[in-house]
Structures are given as structure tokens and as C-alpha cells.
Symmetry: C2
Subunit: 379 residues, 2 copies
């Protein structure tokens, strides 16, 4: 590659007139500093957290594409309610792509950097929707021999989130978990992790079609939130598992409140005497996603020992500290083809990722539709 | 008193037909065990937390009184929505009154008990709406010489709650506080405590009439939630104080969410760069009351570093442990006539407390209307 001077990089900009603009920039390939390596990125997933930065909440029905097929420019309108929330990034051309994997093609002069030459590594560094990315050698997670970049592309966001949920459960004194939107890629991964670690998991899915998907991942408890017996089923699952902690990807509506109510009902089913303030066992819901951007409604019929809060992977990693975080990363690398394996619907190039028909599919964040970008595909 | 064999005690019962019944029972005066003392109760406040147990959420418009004026029986209807929540106490005749003060009139044989003879003590023990109460000597908080039972009646619920709020602030790494329904007895006490301890406090009141009440307690930051500039005023108060923790007595509606939004706006006003997930400083609201029993609505426009939860005094005391709790109690006793002084609208006997015109006043939980029961008044 070394005779190439520039590479493509996906950029997202929000304009003052509430227009989103996504395009491919041709940027110089950086020379790695002594402690850095240059990675040829060959696989980077489109996660929900990437879509927030890339599409800025734009109305996907208004997507238009101009430019050539190799160098397309996507524009779309951002609704006023959303626009307020992205005012902080006006006219900044932002690089996108939280994580990915590729091959180290050049190394800085330090021993640590040179040791990585030719290795396949995974990176969490941002700006991964690009042909080349220079990163600190210390940021690279070396993948086990025989792992392809596509297999190692999703080493961080989903695996560390799943591990973070389990670690949070342990840190905060709970013994089992519940999870919503549980048929997602992350949800299936969490189920595999819980099976492996012997943790009981209550999976909550929106539609009966998703039950089988989770059953094939070995799920024992799957509850359908759209079903007529939801509250009874969920209470029964909480009685069976003792789960008093839930991670919620939905955010809006009544789901968080319903989980707390059912946890309380489960606790009271085994209570020995009347308590005016409800069960004393702390019941917690962490909202980590926003599939429903509407308000969260809490009925507060679950006693006084409860909490709801935001949960963010980066905040969790700060909380446990660098040594613990590194142990989690190493576990991911070791189990990247088993517990933490990801599955993708389609592999696209940077230019293909900007086709309206592809945006329409991955922009929906539908269960079972996950894209992988290979920034060097066809180049 | 020693020739008296029985004493009056207020009892509350919920019947299967959704009727509340409150009456005075004549109960034997207990003989104190070796480690116990018998207290003649002379003052016990009617706190919001007592009303929950005493009135069981009954519709006060349906209050009827039968029986004699010395031995009245109050009945009232409990609305169906509330009745579900009190199903655990059906047909149990429950004694009421969390806290109070009185004089030790008889002591058990232990040294600890006998040392209390004749002393004026405060007790948190339940069943205080009674002429006599036997309690463990270790449960008694001896009031400083010259303190009357009326002055010492409210040593626990409000003072320990105010201290608990400040301690929670310290334990969880915040540096200032916000408080809603701040013109309440508790709110004024919290303001006095914060002034004394040099803590910045943002007081949120519902009506402009309450501003002066707090100003006279020395309040610097008072924000009116019904005013047109509420959100701007609250944000400015959070910028001025740096408060990232609020205690909310209201519970329902949008107030908790508004506080988090304004804390986030205050944090972002001083932020140096755009952060996709909002400010990293944790923002917390604890709901400790339920003046509005309706659902809590969260808009989640306050980043990811936030939490809402229930806060209960007994859970807080468990959390800090017995030694810390005892230090807090001793501080209350020492400052019962200054920082932790309470004010009452009216002193009533047990029989007077069951008059419909009195229930109509104290049952409203209106700011500035607080009753004290003297179970031995006129007897």
C-alpha cells in the first residue's frame, strides 16, 4: 500500500439549515508516530451508536444522493426536535465509526509498535469508516492467529457492553439479569455470555417471532412484551430467576416501569410481612439505548427501593479502571469466534454504505439486520 | 400515674369493603421488661409518613364520625386504585405514630433503664399516638435539660431526613443540593442545616407565596416552579451552586425530569467540547415523597450520566450503619431548639385528632399546617 498517499474517509456534517450531509473525503494517509501503527481497516460494523453520529437523527424518508457512484454525497433533513440536540456539532466535519479491525501495514519506531507489524488487530478509536487509521500501539487488541478482520470487527461495543452488564450486576450485588430488545445482536451475545458464566437471564422481546431466535442461543426465559400475559409472564420470570437488575435498550414508554413493578411483585410474593414502603431489595433499571425516543413513564408502584439511570460503556470502563478493562478486552479476543462472535447481513464498501437503499435498511436498526463496512472493498 | 391500668391508643384498620376505620382503643399499660422503660407520651407530630398509615389513602371527602366525643370512630371510603396498594393490611388493627417525646414514668430493672427514670426522652418506635409506650432504654434519645416533650417531639423523621440528605450528598460526591416542596417544615429545616454547614441549597417551591417563608430561613436560591421563567431560573441556580443532586417530595409529573434537564444545561454551559452523550458528571434525583401520586415523566434530554430513585430514611440509616446513625441522633438532640426546631399549627388530644374538621386540615398536608398530638392532653 505504501505508494498510496491518500485514503477515503466517511464524514458527517450537520449544516445550519438542519441538513445532514454525509460524504467521502480523500484524506492524507498519516505517517505513524514512534508509538503508533498505521492500520488498513478491513471491517467496521454499523452499530446503533455509530448511526447517531453518522445520521444525526435525520428523517430517512428525506434522503437524497448526489455526486458519482464512487463519490456520493448523501443529504437529508433533520427534524426540529432533533436539531436542537445536535446544535453542538454544527458545520463540523466529523469522522465516524467507533470500532473495527484491520492489518498493521506500517509501524512507528518504538518496539511496541514494531511488534505489531503485519498483525491483525481490533481497535476502538473512532474514525474507523476509513481506509487507513493511525492509532497508538497500546490501543490495538491483537487478535488470535487465524482471526480475520471481519471476525474481529466488533470486539468492543457489543462484547464489552455485554461483559459490562454482567460486571455491573456483580458490582451492585444482583444475582441475575433482565434485558430488553433482547433479540438484538447484543442480546444474543449477552445470552451466550450468561449461559457460559452460569447467570440467569430474562430476555424481553417485542415480537413473538423473536422468541425462537433467542431459544436457539440457549435462552431459558423469553417474555414477549406485546403479549396479553406480559406482566404475569415477566413476574413469573423474576420469581424464577431472582433478577433485580435490568438493562433497557428501549428507554421510552412504560417498559422500565413495568419491569420494576414486576420485580416488586416477585419480591412481595415471597415476603413474610406487610411493609408500608414495599420490598427492601433494591431494584434497578439501566437505560443504555433509545429505540423509543419518547418520554419514560414511571408509575412508582414498586416501593421505595428502586433506581433508574443511564448506562454508558465508557463510563462503566472508567468506573472499573484500566486494569479491569484490559482483562475484559483480553477475554473478548480469546472468545471472539465463540461467545462474542457477531453476524452480519451484508458487507458494503464506503461508497455502497451511502446508497439510499442500503441506508434505508441499516438505518432502521431492525433486529437481524446488521451491516459491516469494508473500507477497502473493491479499492 | 401508676394506679392507672389502661391507656388510650389510636388504631387504624382497613376493612375488606374498602372502608377505613380509625378509633381509640383502651389498651393495658405494659409493665416494662428489665431493659425497657415506660414513657408517658406528651407530644407526637402528624407527619406525612404517619398519614399514609393512619388514613390509608382514604377519600377525605367521605369522612364520617360516629361514637362519643371522647371515643369517636372515624370511617371513610378508600378509592379502588388506592385499595389495591393497602391489601396487605386488611383487618389488621394498626397502631400509628412514628415518633414522639415524653417522660419516663417507670423503668425496668436494668441499670440502663433505671438511669432514664424521670427523664424527658424522644423515641422513634411507632405506636406513639398513645398515652403510654414501653420501649427499650437503648431506643431513647435523652433530650437536653430544659427541653419540653413538645420541643423534642420531632427528633427523628424530619431532622434525620434533612441530615440524611446532606450525608447522601457527601457520600455520593456531590457538593450542593436541590430540594422540592421546599417551603415544608422539612424544607425550612434543611435550609437551616445547609446554612449552618455551609452547603449551597436550591429551594424549589410551587407558589410565589412560599418564597418569603424560605427567605426568612436565610435561603439564597428560591425558584418558583409555577413561574414562566422556571427552567431558566433553575438552570441559573444550578450554574451558581453546582448542585447535581436533588431530593424530590413531589414524585409525579415532570419536575424530576426538569431538574435533570436544568442540571445538564448548567453542566453544558461550562463544557469545553461537544460530547455526544452529554456531560459526564452524574446527575441524581431522589424521590422521597409522593405529593403527586401520578406517573413520573422523564424526557431523557439530559445525557447518559443520570439517575432517579427512591430514597427512604430507614434505608439510609441501614446504609451508614448504627454508629453513624447514633452520631446523627446526638447532633439532633444537641440542636433540637435551634437547627432542628419544629413549629406546629395546633396541639390536639387523641380524641380531638379524630374530629372531621381537624382531619380536613392536617389531611391536606398543606405547607404551614402541621399538627402535634398530645395523647395525655386533658386526661
Amino acid at each position: 500500500m505504501t505508494d498510496q498517499a491518500t485514503g477515503l474517509q466517511l464524514r458527517s456534517t450537520v449544516r445550519k439549515d438542519a441538513t445532514l450531509e454525509v460524504s467521502l473525503a480523500e484524506v492524507p494517509i498519516p505517517e505513524p508516530k514512534p508509538d503508533e501503527v498505521l492500520v488498513r481497516v478491513e471491517a467496521s460494523p454499523i452499530n446503533p451508536s455509530d448511526l447517531g453520529l453518522m445520521l444525526a437523527g435525520a428523517d430517512l424518508a428525506t434522503v437524497k444522493v448526489s455526486g458519482s457512484s464512487e463519490n456520493p454525497v448523501v443529504t437529508a433533513h433533520i427534524p426540529p426536535a432533533v436539531f436542537k440536540g445536535v446544535a453542538g456539532r454544527l458545520d463540523q466535519s466529523l469522522a465516524v465509526g467507533n470500532e473495527g479491525a484491520g492489518v498493521v501495514v506500517r509501524a512507528g519506531s518504538s518496539d511496541e509498535a514494531r511488534a505489531l507489524e503485519g498483525k491483525t488487530v481490533a481497535i476502538l478509536g473512532g474514525a474507523m469508516y476509513a481506509q487507513f487509521r493511525a492509532v497508538k500501539a497500546s490501543q490495538c487488541l491483537v487478535l488470535p492467529e487465524g482471526t480475520t478482520p471481519a471476525q474481529g470487527a466488533s470486539c468492543f461495543v457489543n462484547p464489552l457492553t455485554a461483559l459490562g452488564m454482567v460486571e455491573t450486576m456483580r458490582l451492585e450485588g444482583h444475582s441475575a439479569l433482565a434485558h430488553t430488545a433482547a433479540a438484538s445482536n447484543l442480546g444474543q451475545m449477552l445470552q451466550k455470555l450468561c449461559l457460559k458464566d452460569g447467570i440467569e437471564l430474562v430476555n424481553i422481546v417485542r415480537s413473538p417471532e423473536h422468541v425462537n431466535l433467542l431459544r436457539t442461543s440457549g435462552a431459558k426465559h423469553v417474555v414477549v412484551s406485546s403479549g396479553p400475559t406480559f406482566m404475569d409472564d415477566l413476574t413469573a420470570a423474576f420469581v424464577a430467576t431472582g433478577a433485580t437488575l435490568a438493562f433497557d435498550a428501549v428507554g421510552g414508554g412504560k417498559l422500565a416501569s413495568q419491569m420494576l413493578s414486576c420485580m416488586e411483585a416477585a419480591a412481595n410474593r415471597t415476603a413474610k410481612e406487610y411493609s408500608r414502603y414495599g420490598s427492601t431489595k433494591h431494584k434497578q433499571v439501566y437505560i443504555y439505548g433509545g429505540l423509543d425516543r419518547g418520554p419514560t413513564e414511571l408509575t412508582r408502584n414498586f416501593g421505595m427501593a428502586w433506581g433508574i439511570g443511564g448506562w454508558l460503556l465508557t463510563a462503566f470502563l472508567m468506573r472499573v479502571g484500566p486494569a479491569a478493562a484490559q482483562r475484559l478486552r483480553e477475554r473478548v479476543a480469546a472468545e471472539i469466534q465463540t461467545t462474542f462472535a457477531s453476524h452480519y447481513t451484508k458487507v458494503v464498501s464506503l461508497a455502497e454504505a451511502l446508497r439510499p437503499e442500503e441506508i434505508a435498511v441499516y438505518g432502521k436498526q431492525a433486529t437481524g439486520q446488521k451491516y459491516l463496512i469494508n473500507p477497502n472493498k473493491g479499492l
